[in-house]
């Protein structure tokens, strides 16, 4: 019995972390966030590590790894607030295409980083009324809001009925919708009778992709929150006030202890959820919901407390701590806020209508 990462997974984490440390330091994140540069170079680098093809079967040009491996990578990306279309292009899109067995020709291009596929899932999760996607005669009309990846070449669009369609970005009117977190992009997509290819009319395909995406998003929060704790502890040890490091104050120590106590079990939860997606199907859905919701809550409290430990410095842009704060905030709201996801958890167990 061994609960935890395999040696290969640890190596994977090390190599991604090393790449990010060398190639995507905070300065680079700032550039992408300010619009000075795009995430294309980062994605190109990650492509050389095989990241886009992580979940794509080897016979389609991918690496053929599993959900827990994606969790490992997401943890690293979160820890480094890495700008990238990982969630949409490397997680959701491959999952949908493989599960549906459709347009598998795109998988190779995805794995090779040649195309990016964004996702517009809001409609199927519970979206605003004015985001209304309609399908008629193989054409889409209406619009999607807060779709992932403004720079995508294609979009997978889910309807209320959890059918999934593929559209070309160039056929649509795509407008960037900036959020607090500028390390990932979201957009509005307007469909004006746009040709759409039905990828799946099986709601299970949508759900499989959503579950995976939620766990991966939770892993991103895990990484981001752990980074904030590490920074807070390190800062407290060197920052002096009243002639002593603030780490000697019990109030500061207890803030750090509480953050740790809250986050540490999340690591095991995220790992197990990643494992269950591929290996324990009967537990996977419930775990995906709970992991998404629980990490959202812990991400919020940790990111607030870690900022407080940094005092005024945490509020400034000088250390850039806010990029992690906002990353946690983005992960909380996207793909279902905690209240909505917990209600799904209750439904899965027959506890809600």
């Amino acid at each position: 019995m061994r609960f935890g990462l395999s040696e290969e997974q640890t190596l994977l984490a090390d190599s991604v972390t090393r790449f990010l440390a060398d190639n995507v330091p905070l300065d680079e994140v700032r550039k992408v966030a300010s619009g000075e540069s795009s995430d294309a170079a980062v994605w190109q680098g990650l492509t050389e590590l095989g990241v886009p093809g992580l979940l794509i079967p080897e016979d389609h040009g991918g690496v053929g790894l599993g959900s827990l491996d994606a969790v490992v990578v997401a943890d690293c990306l979160g820890a480094n607030v890495t700008p990238s279309p990982f969630l949409s292009s490397a997680v959701i899109a491959p999952t949908v295409l493989v599960a549906a067995g459709q347009r598998e020709d795109l998988l190779g291009s995805l794995a090779g980083g040649e195309i990016r596929i964004g996702t517009a899932f809001g409609e199927a999760i519970g979206a605003r009324v004015d985001a209304d996607v309609k399908v008629s005669g193989g054409k889409l009309s209406g619009k999607s809001l807060f779709a992932l990846d403004t720079h995508a070449d294609h979009f997978l669009v889910a309807t209320k009925g959890k059918h999934v369609y593929l559209v070309n970005a160039s056929d649509c009117e795509v407008t960037d919708l900036p959020t607090v977190d500028r390390t990932r992009t979201t957009c509005e997509i307007k469909y004006n009778n746009v040709a759409a290819e039905l990828i799946s009319d099986n709601p299970d395909v949508f759900t499989e992709a959503l579950d995976r995406a939620r766990v991966v998003m939770a892993a991103d929060t895990l990484g981001a929150a752990q980074h904030m704790i590490d920074e807070a502890v390190a800062y407290a040890k060197v920052r002096e006030q009243f002639n002593r490091p603030i780490a000697t104050f019990q109030a500061v120590k207890h803030m750090c202890a509480q953050m740790t106590a809250d986050l540490e079990p999340c690591r095991s939860m995220v790992w197990y959820a990643g494992h269950a997606l591929d290996n324990v199907p009967e537990e996977a859905r419930l775990l995906a919901c709970h992991t998404k919701a629980h990490l959202a809550e812990v991400g919020r409290s940790v990111s607030k407390t870690a900022t407080e430990v940094h005092g005024g410095m945490g509020f400034t842009d000088l250390l850039g701590l806010h990029y992690w704060f906002k990353r946690c905030g983005f992960n909380r709201q996207m793909l279902g806020v905690p209240e909505l996801v917990r209600e799904e958890a209750a439904r899965i167990q027959g506890l809600a209508a």
Partner: protein, 394 residues
């Protein structure tokens, strides 16, 4: 329990309302330095609705201090959304300090132009290494002939780039105990050796600045109080600033905006207010906000009635008020789902982006003005008589 201010004050309230009616088309003047702002300030001073208690000789209205009248003015102006007088740290902090501790020459030189918007000030207290422990500040001023020579840096200096002058705390007696080695100096911002760098914060705005001093020379007499007395000079008025960080009436006004939002916004086809979970959170926050409003009335009453005391009620406002506002903004964000993330130029931005902005800004206020950990020290030590942090062995 007598909640009216009495007939005398009700007639004063009527006066204020008349004034407001007369000026109901007044627009908020843009910018501290604008002529419109200065002119409106003049009108308000003449009517006694700003600078009310500042002596006439220094450009004020010259009335006796009367907290009730001040409150009535504030209430009526807020209700009518009538623009108030000029603000800023020169008016709110420096003028009261000078009135109490300045020389006649200083009063003469600074109060009137400050009041009339001719002279804009910034505050130089905090330093990168002196936040919670402000008294450990290190920016030094050394007397060289008739001048102080200042070296060091200040942080959290709002409006530094607009200010003509700064009032600041510097260490003049390096060998004295830390609270007794500080002096309160006044200096022109165009003095050579001053560099201002905007300080971007998590909202991505430069609400504050850093100010660096390299051999900045300031005439010897630009000191308020005596050498080494600066800590006492600054503390004479510091307390007032903290209270204003978490005004309960502002929380309730904001809560009403949130209610409006929740009545109009929908998610998943449902009005936000119709979601029982968000409605419950809204009601929880409303209950807390109401408690804070009555707490505030209690504080006011204890100031008006000499036989009443409410030290704890006053001490807890910053701690509770800032957390409450942060949570209030968080509820709006949560309830809006993905839309709640909007920030910057985005057609789905609600409230002009204020929900995310205030969510972060109030996290800043949880930290600023004495972190909430410092607030808890104060409550437990001064409020509950618990021992101070014991001295540690070196």
């Amino acid at each position: 329990m007598e909640l009216s201010f009495g007939p005398e004050y009700e007639s004063f309230r009527d006066e204020v309302r008349d004034f407001i009616t007369k000026h109901k088309d007044q627009q908020a003047p843009s910018g501290a330095g604008s002529d419109a702002g200065k002119s409106w300030q003049k009108t308000l001073i003449e009517a006694g609705y700003t600078a009310r208690t500042i002596p006439k000789e220094y450009g004020g209205f010259g009335a006796e201090p009367d907290m009730v009248k001040s409150r009535i003015i504030n209430e009526e102006f807020a209700t009518a959304r009538m623009p108030g007088g000029l603000g800023g740290q020169g008016i709110s902090m420096l003028i009261p300090t000078l009135l109490e501790l300045g020389t006649d020459e200083q009063k003469e030189q600074f109060i009137k132009p400050t009041l009339h918007g001719e002279m804009v000030w910034c505050q130089g207290y905090s330093e990168p290494g002196a936040g919670s422990d402000l008294a450990s500040l290190r920016t030094s001023a050394v007397l060289d002939g008739d001048e102080w020579v200042i070296n060091g840096s200040k942080i959290w200096t709002s409006t530094a780039h607009l200010a003509h002058w700064m009032f600041c705390l510097v260490r003049t007696e390096p060998d004295a105990p830390k609270h007794n080695g500080i002096s309160f100096l006044l200096l022109r911002m165009d003095t050579p050796g001053i560099e201002i760098r905007p300080l971007v914060d998590m909202t991505m705005n430069a609400n504050f600045n850093e100010v660096f001093f390299t051999d900045v020379r300031v005439p010897k007499d630009q000191i308020v109080g005596r050498r080494g007395q600066g800590w006492q000079v600054a503390n004479a008025i510091l307390g007032h600033e903290r209270d204003s960080l978490a005004d309960p009436n502002a929380s309730l006004t904001r809560l009403n905006s949130l209610i409006d939002l929740m009545k109009t916004e929908t998610l998943g086809g449902e009005r936000l207010i119709d979601n029982p979970l968000y409605r419950e959170r809204l009601m929880k926050i409303q209950g807390r906000a109401m408690a804070m409003r009555y707490n505030d009335m209690h504080v006011l009453s204890s100031r008006l009635n000499k036989d009443q005391e409410a030290p704890l009620a006053r001490m807890i406002t910053k701690l509770q008020g800032t957390e409450l506002r942060h949570e209030l903004e968080a509820l709006a964000i949560d309830a809006m789902g993905e839309v709640g993330l909007s920030f910057g130029s985005n057609p789905y931005l609600r409230g002009g982006g204020s929900w995310q902005y205030q969510f972060m800004y109030f996290l800043g206020l949880i930290i600023g003005g004495g972190t909430n950990q410092i607030q808890k020290n104060i409550i437990s030590e001064r409020g509950l008589g618990m021992p101070k942090e014991p001295k540690i062995e070196k």
